[in-house]
């Protein structure tokens, strides 16, 4: 297929956290809010003049400094964020919104705070305590934490408008972006799809890493282009999979899958589009903040939710996605040293296979995966097994 018009521009945007659009937005008075977890409602971080940047550390090389401060047994993503901050690559941040949900993640901001790593006089941070199950009092706690530790400091220290009207405006813009993604995601259900997994991953990443208002025009145009895009003559994909797992902001991972002719039909991982790129329904007669928080709690797929209904919800969602996107298998990926996904991957690799009848592969990976031959070998083997199952008649013996 012909390259998308903006794909190289998008790739360039992903080369650094403080990218061109982030710089433009800051220069026009925007307040850059860094975050790294779905527990921080993205839509709320885009209120008023604030704009969210889901934190990444592209082109990570040596992690020597973070190894001293955080040991070598910590997940590569958090170490890379720390290293980038230590090097001065996060000085563009005005606010760091964090959550005490994954302890390794929250330690990044605590190290940044203690070592005063962000050289930006306006810089401050907020850490929320979020519940691990869905209850009315859990929602109350969540709303209060978001209000008290994120919105209030943003308003007081950075002059951000966090009123109900500002939240509604931010959600409206967020929904516009999600509507685009819903249409692009629908293309992935087609035979011989018009969007490749790599392209989709890149689109998803730029939507998280750039100010929504500035990336929207490019996304709109890309959608229009995709809708009329001419497909390749033949379907080159050997199998379709759903990727489920922890934080994944390196599209090189998807490239490896693509090179094995594995089509990522649905992306259920942190930084992916499920959840995160679905429109938030807002009623006029209720508090916008509470509605947004409820949405994020209900749709959150983090394995730290330990109540039975959420554990089942996570598995059911993967099973539904497999049907909806006609996936042949599931790939559970886990960032090395991630405790949450370490357990989730272990258990669900077996549960999805045995109880849901879905061929499932579990892998762990480093933060930077580019050129990982070992990973490619495992994916190829998985592809072969899926092909064999197809030949044998649908994988009943999985």
């Amino acid at each position: 297929m012909k390259d998308l018009k903006y794909i190289h521009f998008f790739e360039d945007l992903l080369e650094q956290a403080d990218n061109e659009l982030v710089r433009q937005e800051r220069e026009s008075g925007g307040v850059a809010v860094g975050y790294s977890c779905y527990y921080l409602p993205e839509a709320l971080l885009n209120c008023g003049k604030a704009f969210s940047v889901r934190l990444r550390a592209p082109n990570t090389g040596s992690l020597d400094i973070s190894q001293y401060y955080m040991t070598s047994f910590i997940c590569g993503y958090t170490r890379a964020l720390f290293e980038r901050a230590f090097e001065g690559g996060m000085n563009f941040l005005d606010f760091y919104a964090s959550s005490d949900t994954c302890q390794q993640m929250v330690r990044v901001v605590e190290n940044i705070r203690e070592l005063e790593l962000i050289s930006n006089p306006r810089f401050s941070w907020g850490i929320i305590d979020a519940p691990l199950k869905l209850t009315p009092h859990g929602l109350r706690l969540y709303v209060e934490q978001i209000r008290g530790h994120i919105l209030q400091p943003l308003a007081e220290r950075c002059g951000v408008d966090v009123s109900d009207a500002a939240i509604r405006a931010a959600v409206e813009e967020h929904n516009e972006m999600c509507a685009i993604f819903e249409q692009i995601a629908a293309l992935r259900r087609e035979d011989n799809p018009r969007v490749t997994p790599r392209e989709f991953h890149i689109l998803s990443l730029v939507s998280y890493a750039c100010p929504t208002a500035r990336i929207l025009p490019y996304l709109r145009e890309t959608l229009d282009e995709l809708l009329v895009r001419e497909r390749d003559a033949s379907d080159r994909w050997r199998a379709r999979v759903i990727v489920v797992g922890s934080e994944l902001d390196d599209y090189a991972f998807t490239e490896i899958l693509e090179n094995c002719r594995c089509y990522v039909a649905a992306d259920r991982y942190c930084f992916g589009s499920i959840p995160g790129r679905q429109r938030i329904p807002l009623r006029e007669d209720a508090d916008a903040l509470e509605q947004v928080c409820r949405w994020y709690l209900e749709t959150n797929q983090c394995p730290r939710f330990m109540s039975q209904e959420k554990i089942l919800q996570r598995r059911e969602l993967v099973s539904e996605l497999a049907k909806e996107y006609r996936a042949d298998g599931v790939l559970y990926e886990q960032a090395k040293f991630c405790d949450f996904w370490g357990y989730e991957r272990t258990l669900n690799t077996q549960v999805m296979r045995e109880e849901y009848g879905l061929p499932t592969l579990g892998i762990d990976r480093e933060y930077v995966v580019r050129g990982s031959g070992q990973l490619a070998t495992r994916i190829q083997a998985f592809m072969e097994s899926l092909e064999i199952k197809k030949l044998q008649g649908g994988g009943e013996d999985a």
Binding site: Y68, Y69, M70, T71, F73, I74, C75, T78, D100, C102, Q103, Q104, R107, V108, E110, N111, E114, L115, I127, D129, P131, L132, K133, T135, H137, G138, R140, L141, E144, Q145, G148, P303, R304, M306, S307, Q308, I311, Q334, K336, F337, D339, F340, G342, Y343, E344, R345, T346, L347, T349, Q350, G362, D364
Partner: protein, 512 residues
């Protein structure tokens, strides 16, 4: 040449050839207490002989309990005077309580009594709690017995016998669990996978304590154990006032869950009585800490911190435990008043981070080999608030705070500043001259701020010795390697010679 302590050890096991000579009075006392322990164990064994023998053969971890006399001896190694008496009192109380609980567990265990109506009836009166949840809340159900579910098959065996976790951790890893996760939840997962948890109880109150790994292991346990389960979600930023309403709401929800499954009404008066006893237990502990701040720290080491953990978790609100505290404190007070220090103390150390379960008597070795007295330990400090029993609301808030500041969690959750600031504060308060920092390699929450400890100690000019360990997995880091970290530090940084050179290097890999 004077014989050293290690000259009395059998090669490879470090098990003593004969009992330690501590002078006439202490040796006779120690022997007497050792005989009392045997009495407790023999009484327990014969009280339900067939059931207990079946349990020993059914559960791999039960084997560890057979080595308890040796474990207690290790914890009393080198102790003299009041420290020895305090240790033996604490440990023998622990033995009495644990054997009673094991009897309840095995009497109700459907693995041992499949289809037994009697066992089923007993199970309706057993409330299972996650081991990190203090049993205090269960005191509101005086007709029920609260059992810390993982305490007896996992936590205690990991202390008693260093090899007990190895098989279960291997099972978890064979199941697919990464080897880098903390051995504690991995051990628990292994027990669940092996179906080696006793089949007891009417319901289970799980929790998100102490760490991310524990949250996740409960998913595997819940699936394998099959009891009706409710997670008690304990706030993480527990210092914040605004999270306390949530904590109280969670406790009320847990009470409703326990009422539903036990068929019992919650008795607030019974909870009040237990809270008042717990407050007295806590006050007794405060006194012990104060005594350890003096020039003669009368009781330090695992027989103090292990007892504290057990008291906070399992026997909080128990009058018998309080009586033991009072007895022990009287002995300690007496020694401090007399100005007698029976040991050579060269250094006063604050020991930070979770200790290694697989080397519980590490403190004894520190004192005997290098004269390093562990005057303050992080693991000893938790649940320090007194519960205001004047109203239900205040009592609930007090219980919530006690749970929030449970073992390990009081420091490892709530923000890095809690663990950091308290360390520098304790260093001053206990007149310490060094810090012994455990680098628990699989503890990610603490590992991720390890640089801050290093920097903080350097800025303050504090001597800090880092000791690597893996909580309860001796296959990652052995006891010998832990000792070596201290030896290298003391010899090359502090330039000291050991008090007992025979203890510098010996092989105890095969020891329990």
């Amino acid at each position: 040449m004077r014989k050293g302590a290690a000259d009395n050890y059998r090669k490879g096991t470090a098990i003593a050839r004969h009992r330690e000579w501590r002078g006439w009075r202490d040796t006779v006392y120690d022997y007497g207490q050792w005989c009392r322990l045997w009495g407790t164990l023999i009484r327990w064994l014969f009280s339900h002989l067939i059931q207990n023998v079946k349990a020993i053969f059914r559960y791999r971890w039960m084997f560890s309990y057979l080595t308890v006399p040796s474990f207690f001896d290790r914890l009393c190694f080198g102790l003299r005077g009041a420290a020895l008496r305090a240790a033996r009192n604490n440990l023998n109380y622990l033995a009495r309580d644990v054997t009673r609980t094991l009897t309840t567990i095995f009497s109700a265990d459907l693995h041992l009594h499949p289809g037994s109506k009697k066992a089923e009836a007993l199970n309706r009166r057993i409330l299972c709690f996650d081991e990190l949840l203090p049993a205090l809340l269960g005191k509101g159900f005086p007709n029920c017995k609260t059992i810390l579910f993982q305490e007896y098959p996992m936590y205690l065996p990991s202390l008693i016998n260093q090899h007990s976790p190895v098989h279960y951790i291997s099972q978890s890893e064979l199941y697919g669990l990464p080897a880098d996760v903390c051995p504690l939840p991995s051990f628990e997962a292994g027990l669940a996978i092996e179906d080696d948890f006793p089949k007891i109880g009417c319901c289970m109150l799980s929790s998100n304590m102490p760490c991310d790994g524990s949250i996740m292991t409960s998913m595997i346990q819940e699936r394998r154990i099959g009891l009706p389960t409710q997670p008690l979600n304990v706030p993480l930023r527990w210092k914040r006032g605004e999270v306390q309403d949530y904590a109280v709401a969670e406790i009320l929800s847990a009470i409703a869950f326990l009422e539903e499954h036990s068929g019992e009404r919650f008795d607030w008066d019974a909870l009040r009585d237990a809270c008042e006893i717990w407050n007295e237990q806590n006050k007794a502990k405060f006194e012990k800490w104060e005594l350890n701040r003096t020039a003669i720290p009368p009781h330090t080491g695992a027989s103090a911190w292990l007892y504290r953990i057990f008291e906070h978790q399992a026997v909080c609100g128990e009058r018998e435990a309080l009586e033991n505290d009072r007895r022990v404190n009287a002995l300690l007070r007496e020694q401090v008043a007399a100005g007698i220090c029976p040991k050579t103390i060269r250094h006063r150390a604050v020991v930070w981070n979770t200790p290694a379960n697989n080397y519980a008597n590490f403190n004894n070795w520190l004192l005997e080999c290098w004269g390093i007295d562990s005057v303050c330990e992080m693991i000893d400090i938790h649940g320090t608030g007194l519960i205001d029993t004047s109203s239900r609301e205040s009592m609930l808030r007090g219980v919530a705070e006690m749970i929030e500041t449970s073992t390990m969690r009081a420091h490892t959750k709530g923000g890095s500043e809690l663990m950091l600031d308290d360390l520098w504060e304790k260093y001053e308060a206990y007149h310490a001259d060094m810090i012994l920092m455990f680098d628990q390699i699989s503890c990610k929450g603490v590992g991720a701020i390890s640089g801050l400890f290093e920097e903080g100690a350097r800025q303050r000019g504090i001597r800090m010795c880092t000791v690597r360990q893996d909580l309860m997995d001796p296959t990652s880091i052995t006891r010998r390697e832990m000792r070596n970290d201290v030896n290298v530090f003391m010899q090359t940084v502090v330039n000291e010679t050991p008090l007992d050179p025979s203890l510098v290097d010996f092989d105890d890999d095969e020891s329990w």
